[in-house]
Amino acid sequence: MSADPKGVLTGVHFLDGDHACCEGALAAGCRVVFGYPITPSTEVVERIARRIPTVGGVFVQMEDEIASSIAIQGAAWGGQKVMTVSSGPGISLMMEHIGYAAMTETPCVFINVQRAGPSTGLPTLAAQGDMMQARWGSHGDYEIIAISPNSPQECFELTVHAFNLAERFRVPVMFMMDESVGHMTERVVIPNPEQLKIENRQPPTGPKEEFLAYRPKKNMVPEMAPVGAGYKIHVTGLTHDERGYPVMTPEVQHGLVVRLVDKIRKQRDQICINEEEQIEDAEVVIVAYGITSRVVLRTLQMARDKGLKVGVFRPVVVWPFPEERLRQLAKQVKAFVVPELNLGQVVLEVERIAAGDAKTILVPHAGGGLHDPLQILQVVEEVLR
């Protein structure tokens, strides 16, 4: 399906990542946004507040992030494509509702323009310290999808994709920007509406009286009934059976939670997007995501100039993690070098996958700035020595 032309600002623009993200949401068909101001994500909602009424949508500024993150889910069950926008402390407040969205299989997008933490941290400076929180922050077992853009252009394109994935898998999608990407201004090309592929939640196909709100289809995702169309639905954060009614047994708990996890883990191949640079003959592969994946391109260039066999691997979708591809690479390379704007989060996944085949070396950075490409090069050289 192509995009609703009303929301698509076709043309060539000069936008920062926050604004591009807003345009991506509108292009994807998002017409309801609940939010709360917090640096460095405020620009997203400021633009939404201006733009969304002109395309027939609504922006509501709520009293806090707790309210924003659950109000969107009310709207999602009301049939809308929804998102909320925040950063570190705000995302922390939303955690209970991210678990709720995973449990109730509510399609929704959480924009997280990451800043340095913990707590108030450095509100105006970049970090990638929320990667593990995005994956594990709420209690219990569940899976989400997390996307990590590295440019304003991607903030547009991947926001559209984030909505598509949320709709296809009925799962909360965490859009893990960071302050640098959010505040970086670049050329953003927004295509014609018919060039954008838009996905919507699968409506029921069978007769109304046989409809079960949580009976999975072949892709492990249940159909989502439009509200008011006469289908029986029951939405609850309690463990529920296929009808949606709470059932307090280990069997139903097992069936439900395993499906919630498997619908993402076992369909990774449909979700993962990776980028690879000069990886064919690489002896060392730098694994980087978000803004760091641009910093390491300079490292790559310097390394290649020196004749070092180095490549770059970038998971564009970070969660679920591209296990299969990385396992292949682990057999080919000597080592993975993982620079992150945190003290070691995604590196743990790389290490787990590469264990026994290749070394994994973290290049940590507590946030507040970006890595120096030279610093990463030194680590690469040391590995190759």
Binding site: Y36, T42, V45, T54, Q61, E63, D64
Partner: protein, 309 residues
């Protein structure tokens, strides 16, 4: 010097505990209010401050403006932290670990931290009856993140998340009445104040210090940057807010309401709205509608004058 119109500068407390070297904008009436409040509260004070302008401009090392113990917490919980500090001090005194004396515990926050995200923590603290003062410095929007509407933003004001344009007239809801919400907790003292009336403000802080149990102060804090107005008009605007009935000065002492600056003849609301860019887009019909509501609210307050609520 108990009345709002009495001027006796030499009677004003002289010692400052919120000192120069902060980074507030030109004409910031909020920072003026903070300074005045702490001139009265004095040295034996501990402050728990929510995230906001006052935190950012006063505490960046090495430029702290606080000459008294001060803690920054998160956005939603300065009232809860003040509750904890007050309880902790009480226990230490009970156990004889520190000498028993009066230490004033103060929670402070802006309108967002008080009326929106922190309302739950405030309500909890008032209900539990901690011996503390909570001060809300109301500049009628989230100014620290760059002028977003709050539930304390007045009807019609343009902010970045309630923009004025073809589809919207700015803020579409009426200002939340936090002082009355605080009063509904049956606490011993609630008052509104404004740095444009310094002696009234001083008298109210003194009263708040004297009561046993929680006191709530709601202080009008003109923000020239966010209200899009000339900084030199900050004090005048504060006076116009009172004279037009937009921000009446009153106190509720043990449930009894007293308007401190009765204004039977309210000035036309236009006088107050006109100098402010945030109201520039309003047409006469909308201004008349707002004026009707503002005056009705003021008359409601007048009818309760002297009554025990």
């Amino acid at each position: 010097m108990e009345g709002p119109n009495v001027f006796a500068a030499r009677l004003f407390p002289q010692d400052n505990f919120f000192v120069s070297g902060h980074r507030a904008c030109q004409g910031c009436a909020e920072v003026l209010a903070v300074r005045m409040v702490h001139q009265v509260l004095g040295r034996n004070t501990i402050v728990a401050s929510a995230t906001g302008c006052m935190e950012i401009i006063s505490s960046s090392y090495p430029d702290t403006a606080w000459a008294i113990p001060w803690i920054h917490v998160a956005f939603e919980n300065s009232a809860a932290v003040a509750s904890g500090v007050e309880t902790g001090l009480d226990i230490l005194m009970k156990k004889g670990k520190i000498p028993r004396r009066r230490i004033q515990v103060v929670g402070m926050g802006g309108d967002g931290a008080t009326a929106d995200i922190g309302l739950q923590a405030l309500s909890g603290a008032l209900e539990r009856g901690h011996n503390m003062i909570y001060v809300c410095y109301d500049n009628e929007a989230y100014m620290n993140t760059g002028i977003q509407r709050s539930s304390s933003t007045p009807f019609g004001a343009a902010t970045t998340t309630s923009p004025a344009g073809k589809q919207s007239q700015g803020q579409s809801t009426w200002k939340k009445n936090i002082p009355m919400i605080a009063a509904a907790h049956n606490i011993p003292y609630v008052a509104t104040a404004s740095p444009s009336y310094p002696f009234d403000l001083v008298a109210k802080v003194k009263k708040a210090m004297k009561v046993k149990g929680p006191a709530y102060l709601h202080i009008f804090s003109c923000c020239p940057t966010g209200w899009r107005m000339k900084p030199e008009l900050a004090i005048a605007i504060g006076r116009l807010a009172v004279q037009t009935g937009s921000f009446p000065l009153y106190e509720i002492e043990n449930g009894k309401l007293e308007i401190n600056l009765p204004t039977p003849e309210l000035r036309p609301l236009k006088d107050y709205l006109k100098p402010q860019g945030r109201f520039r887009h309003l047409d006469d019909a909308t201004i008349a509608e707002i004026e009707l509501r503002v005056q009705a609210e003021y008359r409601k307050l007048e009818r309760r004058q002297g009554q025990v609520l």
